[in-house]
C-alpha cells in the first residue's frame, strides 16, 4: 500500500463511520465482542507479564546506578521507578508491544477474511461487516488494553522492588516507603488517558489495514507489517501530544 495520507485518512474515517448501524442481531455482536476481549486481553497477558517484570527490574537497577550520591535517600529509587513506570513504561512500552501482538493479529485476521471472501460472504448475507467485525475489536481493545496497562504498572513496580531487593540495592521497607512518597493520582489518570488513546490507535489502524487488503497472501503480510509500523509511529506521536497537553 503506497503512502497517500489523505486517501488513507479519509477511508479510515469512512470505515469508522460505517461501523455505526443498528446491529442485525445484538446477541451475535455481544458474542463477537466477548470473543475479542478474550483474544486481545487474555491472549496478551503472558507477554505483558514478562515485559512488565523485566521493565520494572531494569528501571530500578539503572536508576540505582545513576543515583550514587549518599545524600539522596534510597527510597528515591522506588519513587523514580514508580513514576517512570506509571507515566511512560506501562502505557507506552506495553502499547508498543501490543501494537505488534494485537495489531498484527487483527490486521492478518481481517486480511485473511477479505482475501478468502469471508467478508464478502457476510456482506451478501446483509451484515454490516464494519459493525460486526471491526467495532467489537475496537471496543474489546478499549476495554482490555487499559486493564493490561494497569496490570503492567503493578507488575512493573513489583518487578522493580524484587530486582532491587534481590540485588541488595534497596531494602523492602525502603522501597515501600519510596512508593508512598508524593504519589500524584493525576499521573494514574494520565497513564489511563494514554492507554485508551493507544488502544484505539492499535485496534482501529490495524483493522483499517486488514479490512482493506487487496490481492493475495503476500499482501496480508504487508498489511500486517504496515499496520504495526503505522500504529507504533502514531502511538509515539500521540504520546508526545498527550504529554505536551496534559502535563
Amino acid at each position: 500500500m503506497e503512502f497517500r495520507f489523505f486517501y488513507h485518512f479519509g477511508a479510515y474515517l469512512l470505515m469508522l463511520k460505517g461501523m455505526f448501524s443498528k446491529p442485525e442481531n445484538p446477541r451475535m455482536y455481544w458474542k463477537q465482542f466477548m470473543q475479542q476481549c478474550v483474544d486481545i486481553g487474555v491472549g496478551s497477558l503472558g507477554i505483558v507479564f514478562i515485559i512488565s517484570l523485566f521493565m520494572g527490574g531494569v528501571t530500578t537497577l539503572q536508576t540505582a546506578y545513576q543515583l550514587v550520591s549518599p545524600i539522596i535517600p534510597k527510597a528515591t529509587i522506588a519513587q523514580i521507578t514508580r513514576d517512570t513506570i506509571i507515566l511512560e513504561f506501562a502505557p507506552t512500552l506495553t502499547s508498543i508491544v501490543l501494537a505488534g501482538v494485537v495489531g498484527s493479529k487483527i490486521a492478518s485476521e481481517l486480511g485473511n477474511m477479505r482475501i478468502s471472501e469471508q467478508i464478502d460472504a457476510l456482506e451478501i448475507m446483509g451484515i454490516n461487516t464494519k459493525g460486526y467485525l471491526v467495532m467489537p475489536k475496537i471496543l474489546g481493545a478499549l476495554l482490555t488494553i487499559p486493564c493490561l496497562v494497569v496490570v503492567a504498572g503493578f507488575l512493573g513496580i513489583w518487578g522493580g522492588k524484587e530486582a532491587g531487593v534481590l540485588s541488595g540495592i534497596i531494602s523492602n521497607d525502603e522501597f515501600i516507603q519510596g512508593l508512598r512518597q508524593e504519589l500524584k493520582v493525576y499521573n494514574i489518570f494520565f497513564a489511563l488517558s494514554k492507554a485508551y488513546t493507544f488502544a484505539f490507535i492499535i485496534s482501529s489502524v490495524s483493522a483499517y489495514y486488514g479490512y482493506n487488503v487487496k490481492g493475495g497472501a503476500l499482501e496480508i503480510g504487508k498489511a500486517s507489517t504496515t499496520a504495526v509500523v503505522v500504529s507504533c509511529v502514531l502511538i509515539l506521536f500521540a504520546d508526545y501530544a498527550l504529554s505536551a497537553i496534559l502535563l
Binding site: E117, I124, G126
Partner: protein, 272 residues
C-alpha cells in the same frame, strides 16, 4: 426474477461492462460464461451489490436494487444465497456452525429448530457426517457443498454461484452441478452461475449469457448453443477438436429427432 438493464461499470479509464441487459428467470439455472477478463465476475458482483454500477438498473422482482437505500438493500440481500469460488467458509467455525451462522444472525426460533434446519440442509448436500469437522479438515468438494448448504439455509429466492466447479475433479463437479440444478427447481430459486466449465454449460444451462469484452455477445439455452452460428461463442465453447466432434455428434442426434424445435420451445429435452 432478476432483470438487468443497460448496466455499465468501469475502473478508472477502463470500461469493464459496456451496457449489459439480460433477464434471469426463476426456477432456471442462468449461466454467465465468457473468457477471463470478459466482465462476468464484475457483472455478478454488481448484481449482488458487492460493487456499485456506474449506470443502469438491476431489478429484483421488479424492485430497483440500484435505487434502494442501505436498509432496503440489506433486506434484499437476506433473500440471496451465494456460493463463492473458494467457498468462503469461516475457518474458526465447524461445518455445522458455518451453516447455522445465517440462522443465528437472522433466523427466529429455538436452538432445536435451527439445529433441525441445519441438519436438513447438511443432509440435502450429503454432509450430515461432517457436521463437527472444521473447514480445514474437509476436501474442496465438501467445502463447496457446505457453501451450498449455508447459501440455502434461509430459503433464499436467489442463488449466486461464482465458479462452483473450479478446482474440482470432473465427477465432483458434476455432482455439484446436479445439486444446484435440483435445488433450483425444488425451491424455485433464480440461480445465477458464473462458470468456465463446459460440462456445466451443456448439462445445466437453462439460460446462458455469453460475455465478450464487457458486452453480451450471445444469449440462449444449452440446446440452442449447439446450433449457434456465432463464431466467437463457438471458438470459446468448442475450443478443442474433441469438443467440436462432440458438438457435431449432438447435432446429428438432434436432427434425427424431427420435432426438436417444437420440443425445445415447449421445454422438453430432445429425443435420444
Amino acid at each position: 426474477m432478476i432483470e438487468i438493464k443497460d448496466i455499465k461499470k468501469g475502473f478508472g479509464d477502463k470500461e469493464i461492462l459496456k451496457g449489459v441487459s439480460a433477464t434471469m428467470e426463476s426456477g432456471k439455472v442462468n449461466l454467465i460464461i465468457g473468457a477471463s477478463g470478459s466482465g462476468k465476475t464484475v457483472m455478478m458482483k454488481c448484481i449482488v451489490g458487492l460493487m456499485e454500477v456506474d449506470s443502469g438498473t438491476i431489478l429484483y422482482n421488479q424492485q430497483d436494487f440500484t435505487a434502494m437505500n442501505a436498509q432496503e438493500k440489506k433486506n434484499v440481500r437476506q433473500e440471496i444465497g451465494m456460493l463463492f469460488q473458494g467457498s468462503a467458509l469461516f475457518d474458526s467455525m465447524t461445518v455445522e456452525q458455518n451453516v447455522m451462522f445465517p440462522l443465528d444472525m437472522f433466523g427466529k426460533g429455538s436452538y432445536k429448530e435451527k439445529k433441525k434446519r441445519v441438519m436438513e440442509c447438511l443432509e440435502r448436500v450429503n454432509l450430515e457426517d461432517a457436521a463437527r469437522r472444521f473447514p480445514a479438515e474437509i476436501s474442496g468438494g465438501m467445502k463447496k457443498r457446505v457453501g451450498i448448504a449455508r447459501a440455502i439455509v434461509l430459503n433464499p429466492k436467489y442463488l449466486f454461484c461464482d465458479e462452483p466447479n473450479s478446482g474440482l475433479d470432473p465427477q465432483t463437479s458434476l455432482l455439484i452441478d446436479k445439486l444446484i440444478k435440483e435445488l433450483t427447481t425444488e425451491y424455485n430459486i433464480t440461480t445465477v452461475i458464473n462458470t468456465h466449465d463446459m460440462n456445466t454449460v451443456m448439462e445445466s444451462g437453462d439460460h446462458i449469457i455469453y460475455m465478450y469484452q464487457g458486452q453480451k455477445q450471445w444469449e440462449g439455452s444449452n440446446e440452442e448453443i449447439i446450433f449457434s452460428k456465432d463464431e466467437r461463442l463457438n471458438d470459446f465453447i468448442f475450443a478443442s477438436d474433441f469438443l467440436r466432434d462432440a458438438k457435431e455428434m449432438r447435432q446429428m442426434e438432434m436432427f434425427r429427432d424431427k420435432n426438436w424445435r417444437d420440443r425445445l420451445k415447449s421445454g422438453q429435452p430432445p429425443a435420444k
